[in-house]
Amino acid sequence: MGELDDRPAAPAKEAKKPKCEASATGISLGKSGPIHDGDEYGLRTPINVRGKNLKDVQDSELVGTSVDHTGSMKDRPSAKSKNSDFMAADKIPDDRHVSSVSDHLDYYDNHGGDGSYSRLQMDLYKIPSCSIDTPQGMANSGYRIKRTVKKDGKKVVGIVTKTAEAVEIDGFKSGAGLTAKKEAKVTLREDAPSEKKEKSTTGAGPKKGK
């Protein structure tokens, strides 16, 4: 049996707080591309969160209600604000911005031709390991997603753009995102209906019969 060491213990070193190095500073967009499967069309954009120690960062996407409806899309009801649950910022799946082809052609055909509307988007983050437990607006994560349906020569096209813009959504603010712009242009229909001619009221047109 060994002797007991009854010397006074050396003062314990103060526990070092782990240095908080994780951060989330903005969103850039990867190589994007169009979506068009006949039923729906739009834009696919890979999402890259910028920052440090992203495995410690939780990220959620926030998309605001639709705004700035013009032309035929003025008749379209405003879409509600939506968000995703929080997920690890180093494994964010692609964004899709899609619409129904038949729905957009219906507005084009029956509500006055060309039209557009937008939704604003930004990201929120939490870093529990840094005691950031309430959602914070991410600095440079703001984008405008704009959908435009219009006549283009003999075609009707749908254009979806995602453009960096400072935004405010549901009380959260963000500066413009880190990628300037992504765009997809898709042909919705090959033959745009020709513009309807107004009926003549002068009686000067050709007449059949006596």
Partner: protein, 109 residues
């Protein structure tokens, strides 16, 4: 799912909705909260009917992340009911060809 299986008459019953994609190759549209359609109580439709669609979980208009399956989506609106008459109630969510588990709720005085 509900918090309890037994409620008092007139008490609010909140129903939470979860969609689970159990296999790879299924896309999960996690942005929400999404509207719940095609929910019945004792066989009677109590929410809006969903639009005819080959895939009721694929929104016709969508902005945001799409998670590849297997995945779970909790991001649906909560539906709420108050039953004033005691008895047994069955709540079923059946979007398109899909059916949820049946919630067997007992309402007592």
């Amino acid at each position: 799912m509900t918090g309890e299986r037994r409620y008092r008459a007139g008490e609010e019953i909140r129903v939470h909705h979860v969609m689970e994609a159990t296999e790879p190759g299924i896309d999960v549209y996690v942005m929400g909260p999404k509207q719940v359609t095609d929910e019945t109580v004792n066989g009677e439709l109590r929410t809006a009917a969903g639009p005819p669609s080959a895939d009721p979980f694929r929104p016709s208009e969508y902005d945001g992340r799409v998670v590849p399956g297997p995945a779970i989506d909790f991001n649906y609106e909560v539906t709420a009911y108050r039953f004033t008459r005691p008895g047994a109630y069955q709540i079923l969510w059946k979007p398109g060809e899909w059916k949820s588990n049946v919630l067997e709720i007992e309402v007592v005085r």
